[in-house]
Amino acid sequence: MSYDEWFRDDRLPHIYCAGCGNGTVINCTLSAVDQMGWTKDETVFVSGIGCSSRAPGYIVADSLHTTHGRAIAFATGIKMANPDLRVIVFTGDGDLAAIGGNHFIHACRRNIDLTVVCMNNMIYGMTGGQGSPTTPQGALSTTTPYGSAEAAFDLCGLAAAAGANYVARYTSYHVKELIRAVRTGLETPGFSFIEALVQCPTNFGRRNKFRQVMDQIEFFKSHALLVQKADRMREEGKKIPDDMIVIGELARRNRPPLGVRK
């Protein structure tokens, strides 16, 4: 198969808004899958509910578009029942970390052989822009009209603390790095978590001073801080500004995995 054969031609264009970062993440993921040489007969895509979770519907492989927050639990059943299948989960920040937080940490703990790609737009896109557990403190959304009062999750930190074998964060600007990260995730036995920060011009950008799609991409570009550099800064006692995005590989280890191909 070649990269573009992974798309369901008959369903494109997809429903995403103009400039939505989700499409980019689908591209990068499929590119990584394609690099692995996996076939559509052995690969299964699973997702929950949200704009991000619509991704599997545009891919020719078998796919299960489940209930909100539960993608990883469904994927666990698929992978445990048939470890020969390659199982990739698309999810959003709300789906993964709000309603789905428990399945997320448990899959990390079990270190089950899934690759989870989270399109983190820091908002509930599908339902029109409510705050999510990754909405930055102070940011505006329809349910935080006075600025979010709650702290945001560090999804990668959580995944690492819960036990995942591979954890990485990039943004929709970092397409090459994202492909590489997803690919490493696919290669790693056990649980791999790739967080891709994406722009949601319609529901996040618009309310939070990113008037144009490009503004948020420019922000990703200028505020990304490679983890190695961040570590160095920490060692040197420098404070990392709150609005910087630490990108890179955040965990890579070799704990015993569950559900790997025999």
Binding site: P13, I15, Y16, C17, C51, R54, M126
Partner: protein
């Protein structure tokens, strides 16, 4: 008398706001009854969006539009999805800058987007031009009512611009109607 109006266009044109404003004008300033509804859903995002308003002197019982008396169509896709099944007795206002097709019923062509850009410098007020035209062409609500309802509904600082757009709509419609 029950009057059913349907609006359609693409996302970002303010199709829903247009219907809300007409409904508001009828209820708050013309002392009539109105029900406004719209189509929701992600599928509506990329494609055509639709909203509707029913205006009546008595309370509106059945809240859904079944055969619109008036159409306001602002995109070609909107025409194809929501304007094509028009009945002969209806009136359709089209944004002639964006809609290529024409209906079988009476049609009023308003180059709203073109005018919005060219004479007002902002595409975004095309819907208000259409509203002005709608009121001028059909009288579903009074001019005073629509003016007040527009002022209630637009962001602060843009009142001037929107009133200009509304008046531009009056003008364009009058031109079409009276030659």
């Amino acid at each position: 008398m029950r009057t059913e109006i349907r609006f359609s266009g693409f996302g970002g044109q303010g199709i829903i706001l247009a219907a809300v404003i007409v409904g508001r004008a009828a209820v708050m300033y013309d002392n009539k009854y109105a029900v406004q509804t719209q189509v929701y859903g992600p599928e509506a995002r990329g494609g055509a969006s639709m909203s509707a308003v029913i205006i009546d002197d008595e309370p509106v019982l059945f809240p859904k539009v079944t055969s619109p008396d008036i159409y306001v169509i602002m995109s070609q896709e909107g025409f194809e999805k929501y304007g094509v099944s028009v009945s002969g007795g209806a009136i359709m206002l089209v944004d002639s800058s964006l809609v290529h097709s024409r209906p079988s019923c009476r049609c009023i062509e308003i180059p709203a987007t073109k005018e919005a850009r060219e004479s007002l410098g902002r595409d975004i007020v095309a819907n208000i031009i259409m509203l002005g035209a709608l009121v001028a062409a059909t009288g579903v609500v009074s001019r005073e009512a629509i003016e007040k309802a527009i002022l209630d509904s637009v962001p602060r600082g843009t009142e001037e611009l929107n009133l200009k757009a509304m008046k531009k709509g009056f003008e364009l419609a009058e031109k079409v109607m009276h030659g």
